[in-house]
Symmetry: C2
Subunit: 475 residues, 2 copies
């Protein structure tokens, strides 16, 4: 592909605006910004702009509008769906929020933190902890993902069952609109009914309606009592049944509730150093029950023991271990967290981030597993994830010995196979990863008609020139 | 004012479409739909359409578009800000959702309920209870307000501190768009990141972007342990300090936390039968602490006693009573609930529904009270409400003996006086009541610039003819 023409004077003007630290043009400097970590896409770009503050972001956006330059917005670049990389045209300017990395305030009375878009999620968690509070959003990429990114994609993760998605953890936003105006919506209010909920429109819009530059985040009291159990359960229904028992006993104590299949645990035992079979017998289905409360006297361990004893009597739980220490709890969590790495070492795998109503999770896992094995004989379903949210990563590991390339060539067949069942169960084809580039072609089928029509009208109203993250979200 | 011309054939076509039960044209039948319960406005209308289902709503909307007829959407007509009544032009068709009153499903596994717009809030609460669950939204008008109304206004209420506003209790929507398309977004999913959050755009839009016809609502485990305390506290800071102590001990146990001033309690004692001074000494500041947990063994009474004992030692709490029974708890709650009625009986009063960051509530109450008494000597501030949400109803009772009309003529001065202080404290001029007709003229000052500009673009994109609830929300 020939180099796209750079709009006349654009780079000089950006350089004058942002200074040498604020503009990357050297191919070696730009390279890390052009591909996603899953290596699904390899894009090109005119340059990478690294504005230092909100005013500079707005100036870059105005310059882009003036010159008709498409902008690809980038946070930590940890998207699972190619949401943060430019396309192959070479016409895009990548706009990195990495330098907007200040925590503007952190208030344990209001229980709010105002953080700029480039603040790394882990940094925000730490700041909350230093203030004696908890910022609960937690996910695998938290050491790299940024506040702007997790809000723009409405990230989920392990604690959604208790604290909600990124959306529910946000009270206010500062956004640079496509026309270069800065909207200061950094309100620290729990109640504010004054017109349309713009802040909710930008959350999950993946940068296609404007650029989130800062946010007011909600904090919570930090846990002072915890309990963690790993359980072997009889089947998928038993996994759901155990979730219901804990939720109905004390929904606010269930910080996370994760399902793992025997196959996934087996891969961890096989490939990950330090992970052994967690219970005396290998099981086909496991759940990780993570309880937490700010009350030091919550008695969560006793509660867990009581619920598990009852569930064992009923044959729902086959075996269980309660962590005796924080170290053991972390060791048990590691089995869940190493699932992606273990699957990678076992061979090629295809990821499916789907959700269904909670009640339909068992049927979804069973039907998808059977259909996938029928589609690709010898392949190994590895369902795992957030059963309490109805969000299971319905992943598929290649058959042993198959050429990975041959298996991966079936990626779309595999996704279609899962999606057809998920659709039949009133589910969603993207639970927590968003649309990015990977799933734009599914939007018409799933969201077409009145819904997609309204989305397109909103996009055209706010970004008439279509320069904000083109190629993402909307088909 | 002369009668506005009715578009030719409109009423005949509506009659053919909706049948005799579905169209009210008799002035006596229409009258209750034309004024709000606060009697702030007296409108006129062509007729009242009462469609029986979503398809009929869509047909009415298409007919309105075809004939250029503005629509005023009406639920339970309990708006505090004239949000559900037509203007004085006589050109509007009132569209009542009262007949869309089915609860389509109620599932204790998914913890979701699908309710149509016309379902009364209390009915939804009862349906949840029958399913062994809790639908926590609770407010004074719950016996009349409808699901469509509470979502379209993002209603708050007493339990927001624990469960969030109406917005947080909604997972999916069915909406008739301004062009008459029906969007079925009735998803029962906890995670669904597939494009723009349209559902959040319609919540709080007060019917100006489309008509909510049904919703998927979240339910919660029902409380099995409760505790209620009424406390006299030293001052406004002490009220906030006590909230912090309970919140930090166990935020999920704080179902409601209400502030009342001595003046408000005095009015209740004076005017409301069955209400006596709740503590041995009259106090200047009270809080109502309402704790609840699904755990039968949560020990909330012990927790309340421990926190209160500590707070008494520190001089934060002066006196307190813990309810010994459900009946006594209701009796204590009644003091809070009768505040509006007691103020009415005492004379004319002006309501202010404002919010500030939680940490600024004490300053807000003090500064507003002083400024109001300076503005109207002899007037009596009656601040009360949801201190945990930063949302205080900063009401003002007339001076004894003043002509109510003279006092009410100062309404806008009073609101301006409160709003100026609220604004200085980074607050909002409408916390939970919305904009309606009453506050549209405040939008430019508070939300003008990038924010109002974006709202207007969205309105024009979805409702280009401007026929959906014109005169509401946007100036």
């Amino acid at each position: 592909m020939p180099d796209a023409p750079t709009p006349a004077g654009l780079l000089d003007r950006l350089h004058a605006l942002l200074g040498p630290r604020g503009l990357l043009t050297d191919p070696a400097d730009i390279a890390p910004h052009l591909s996603d970590w899953r290596a699904l896409y390899q894009g090109r770009a005119l340059a990478v702009a690294r504005p230092a503050d909100t005013a500079e972001v707005a100036a870059v956006v105005r310059l882009a509008q003036e010159t008709g330059t498409p902008i690809t917005v980038q946070g930590g670049n940890t998207s699972m769906v190619g949401g943060a990389v430019p396309d192959e045209s070479g016409r895009h300017l990548v706009l990195s929020l990495a330098r907007l990395n200040r925590i503007r305030d952190c208030d344990p009375v209001d229980m709010t933190m105002t953080a700029e878009a480039g603040v790394v999620l882990k940094t925000a968690q730490n700041a909350a902890q230093e203030a004696g509070c908890l910022f609960p959003l937690s996910l695998g990429a938290e050491g790299t993902a940024t506040i702007g990114g997790v809000l723009s994609t409405n990230a989920g993760g392990n604690t959604t069952v208790r604290y909600g998605n990124a959306r529910e953890l946000m009270l206010g936003l500062e956004v640079v609109l496509p026309d270069g105006q800065i909207w200061n919506g950094l309100r620290r209010l729990r109640k504010d009914n004054t017109g349309y909920a713009l802040r909710h429109l930008f959350v999950g819009a993946e940068g296609t309606l404007g650029i989130v530059t800062a946010a007011v985040l909600r904090m919570f009291p930090r846990p002072r009592d915890t309990a963690l159990a790993l359980c072997a359960v009889a089947d998928e229904e038993a996994a759901l049944g155990l979730f219901r028992r804990f939720r109905d006993r004390d929904d606010s104590a269930v910080r996370a509730f994760e399902y793992m299949s025997g196959s996934g645990v087996d891969f961890c035992v096989k490939h990950i150093e330090g992970i052994a079979q967690p219970l005396s017998d290998r099981a086909a289905h496991y759940v990780l029950v993570d309880l937490a409360s700010p009350r030091p006297d919550a008695g969560l361990r006793d509660m867990a023991e009581a619920v598990l004893a009852e569930a064992m009597e009923e044959g729902i739980v086959l075996d269980a271990v309660l962590a005796e220490s924080e170290a053991q709890a972390q060791k048990l969590w590691r089995i869940r967290e190493e699932h992606p790495e273990a699957q990678k070492r076992e061979g090629a795998s295809v990821k499916n981030d789907v959700s269904v109503p909670v009640s339909k999770v068992p049927e979804m896992i069973r039907r998808c597993s059977a259909a996938l094995v029928e589609l690709i004989p010898g392949s190994r379903p590895v369902p795992f994830g957030h059963i309490g949210d109805g969000n299971i990563h319905m992943n598929l590991e290649q058959p042993p010995g198959m050429d990975p390339a041959v298996f991966l060539a079936r990626s779309h067949d595999i996704m279609d196979c899962v999606n057809a069942i998920v659709r039949d169960l009133d589910g969603s084809f993207s639970a927590e990863h968003g649309i990015g580039r990977l799933k734009t072609d599914m939007m018409e089928e799933w969201r077409g008609g009145a819904e997609l029509d309204a989305m397109k009208r909103i996009k055209a109203a706010l970004d008439p020139a279509g320069l904000m993250n083109p190629g993402k979200v909307l088909p």
